[in-house]
């Protein structure tokens, strides 16, 4: 199937989608969907001719004949998928199987705050969805517009004023072999009202062997004094690809920590936009990419300092083996009034594979004068001297390399505030590096 055919299929699917919506087509929300579809039809899928997609071609992902609509609740045995959950602690869970909400696997709540689905919120919390829907995401992106056009299902988290989540929230999307090739377009809406806090872990997991393409959009609003931790574990099958767009708006005195762990999948594209709308807010953007043959990860981040006195700290690390490819594009915008801004960005890459490569580009646009900004991008190899030092102490080459890589990874993993997740990431990393360290870190 060609890219154009898939775009055509989506256009006709949109008509089918509208027909099933009945009365809803007259709402403001649906007007946004329709406009978004028109926008997508005008733009088409992004290609490498677009500056933002220069190093990441979607062509190999878009050649499949994906199913756009999903049916039924595929029965999954919890014991088979337990390992994808942080199962040693209690969590809220929003679980989808083949794009359809699975009430059987989920543990939602409406006590004190809401953890449920976006579709439920459209029915029951229309005031909230109307207020926030499509207000943060960058609709000028064709992929966002496509997601917005079909926005119907996803996670909905609303932390009410002062509410503190009693346990972390896990959002997991499974796809199964039976479902075949699937296009999944989850839409998450996350609102943290004043003084609230929550930890969120999101994951997409293909259990089958068919191509799966996820085009996900998250809109996140962090109001005054609220605190968000958002962790993404991308360790999917080599037949699965994801394009994620996350836009976060931060109000005064809010704190956000995001971390994305790109460890597996055919193609991972992560657009992360953070905008400071209120003073004294702080954001940490972390990323660890560890790829092997046939994998591609592209991180595009944009931090928009619109007001004074905000701090952003960005640390992305990448390790590329085999013929894997990495892209990092980090934009920092400091607007004219945003004095006393602190903005730090760091992107360090290690190339292991002879055919591996990485394109890294910091993009600083600073229009205020009283600011502290720094950035550093490095692309290198493992330190020979360090390697020799370790080997001279009896540590075999493979383990010595792994130890050095593990240390790099730990700089990012170590910042995760959830111990159980940290342990898992350590294990995942050790597994990827094919070592068994008998150590506690």
């Amino acid at each position: 199937m060609s890219v154009e055919l898939l775009a055509d299929k989506l256009s006709s699917s949109f008509i089918v989608f509208e027909n099933e919506l009945n009365g809803e087509t007259k709402t403001d929300l649906h007007r946004i969907r329709r406009e978004s579809m028109e926008l997508f039809e005008k733009k088409g899928f992004p290609s490498i001719r677009h500056e933002d997609w220069k190093y990441t071609s979607l062509k190999p992902v878009l050649k499949h004949d994906y199913k756009v609509f999903h049916k039924g609740d595929q029965a999954l045995d919890f014991s088979d998928i337990k390992k994808f959950f942080i199962h040693d602690i209690d969590t809220h869970k929003i679980v989808f199987v083949n794009g359809v909400y699975s009430s059987w696997l989920s543990e939602t709540t409406h006590q004190g705050y809401d953890v449920c689905t976006f579709s439920a919120a459209l029915r029951r919390h229309r005031d909230v969805t109307d207020r926030y829907f499509s207000k943060a995401a960058d609709n000028s992106s064709a992929m966002v517009a496509l997601n917005t056009a079909f926005a119907q299902e996803g996670a909905y988290i609303r932390m009410t004023k002062g509410a503190s989540a009693i346990k972390p929230v896990e959002i997991i999307h499974f796809t199964t072999e039976e479902a075949g090739s699937l296009l999944n377009q989850p839409r998450n809406l996350i609102v943290l009202e004043e003084g609230s806090d929550v930890q969120i872990i999101e994951r997409h997991q293909s259990l089958g062997s068919k191509p799966v393409f996820t085009n996900s959009v998250s809109e996140i609003f962090v109001h005054a004094n609220a605190s968000l931790e958002l962790y993404r574990v991308q360790n999917d099958a080599n037949t699965a690809s994801i394009v994620d767009h996350t836009s976060i708006q931060q109000h005064r005195d809010s704190r956000v920590r995001t971390a994305v762990f790109s460890l597996g999948g055919k193609l991972m594209r992560n657009d992360l936009n953070i905008a400071f709308l209120g003073e004294n807010a702080e954001a940490h953007l972390d990323g660890l990419t560890l790829l092997d043959d046939g994998q591609h990860a592209d991180h595009h981040t944009r931090v928009d300092h619109r007001v004074p006195h905000c701090n952003s700290f960005e640390m992305y690390k990448g390790i590329y083996d085999g013929n894997s490819k990495g892209v990092f594009n980090g934009q920092i915008m400091v607007r004219p009034h945003a004095q006393k801004t602190n903005a730090f960005q760091q992107n360090n890459n290690i190339i292991l594979g002879e055919k591996a490569s990485v394109d890294t580009k910091p993009q600083l646009e600073i229009f205020a004068d009283d600011v502290k900004c720094s950035h550093g991008c490095t692309v290198g190899q493992l330190d020979d001297e360090a390697l020799f030092y370790l080997r001279s102490r009896g540590i075999p080459e493979h383990e010595a390399k792994a130890l050095l890589l593990y240390a790099i990874g730990d700089e990012v993993i170590g910042k995760v505030r959830l111990k159980e997740l940290r342990n898992r990431l350590h294990k995942l990393m050790a597994k990827k590096l094919n070592v068994d360290f008998q150590m506690e870190i």
């Binding site: 020799f388 001279s392 009896g394 540590i395 075999p396 130890l403 050095l404 240390a407 008998q438 150590m439």
Partner: protein, 251 residues
Amino acid sequence: MLHIKNLHASIEDNKILKGINLEVRPGEVHAIMGPNGSGKSTLSSVIAGREEYEVTEGSIEFLNEDLLSLSPEERAHAGIFLSFQYPVEIPGVSLTNFIKTSMNETRKAKGLEPYPAKDLLKKMRDCLELLEMDKGFLSRSLNEGFSGGEKKRNEIFQMALLEPKLAILDETDSGLDIDALRIVASGVNKLRSPKKSFVLITHYQRLLNYIEPDYVHVLFNGKIVRSGGKELAHELESKGYDWIKQELAEV
């Protein structure tokens, strides 16, 4: 124990070692002295297996085995230890985890089970005490931010744990204060036994007051140009290297 015969080594086509002959028998302590750039660290790196150096001629045998065919880790497993002139800083790898990995990999290579964690910890504590090092070092990243002297002490700490058969100390005394020198020397002396040998690379006779060598060699321009007893070190200390250079020029 260690047999070096006519060893030639170069790096990036620069000939550094030009025919080294050296024999170290069990229990012996050899001191190697020589001006800066004469090839002392190169020799120790070649013995430890640094792959950047190319051995173009000659041989090294260790315990009757061809050392040059072994990887650096295999040499360590065989009982060779190099105390680095410039120990490498490795951020993110804690000293404890490093030691654990190092000790257990060495045991694994010998077909032994890993150390029980408790025993290992006790061993580490004992060696820390021997070298009068603070326990705090254990949780710090390997050599990161260590002072020059602390790095050297850490090398001897590792040596004390690994109990090598042959230890090469490349200027371990440089950068040590008087007390540290005494502590490090007593660490070395504790390990001395009829089966263990040492090669001390140093610029100062002072170290040899604490650790008495059986032989002293002078390395000059990639060759051992003179060997003698400990009195040779005294002679070098008072006269410098010029007289050797002169004698060589006359020949």
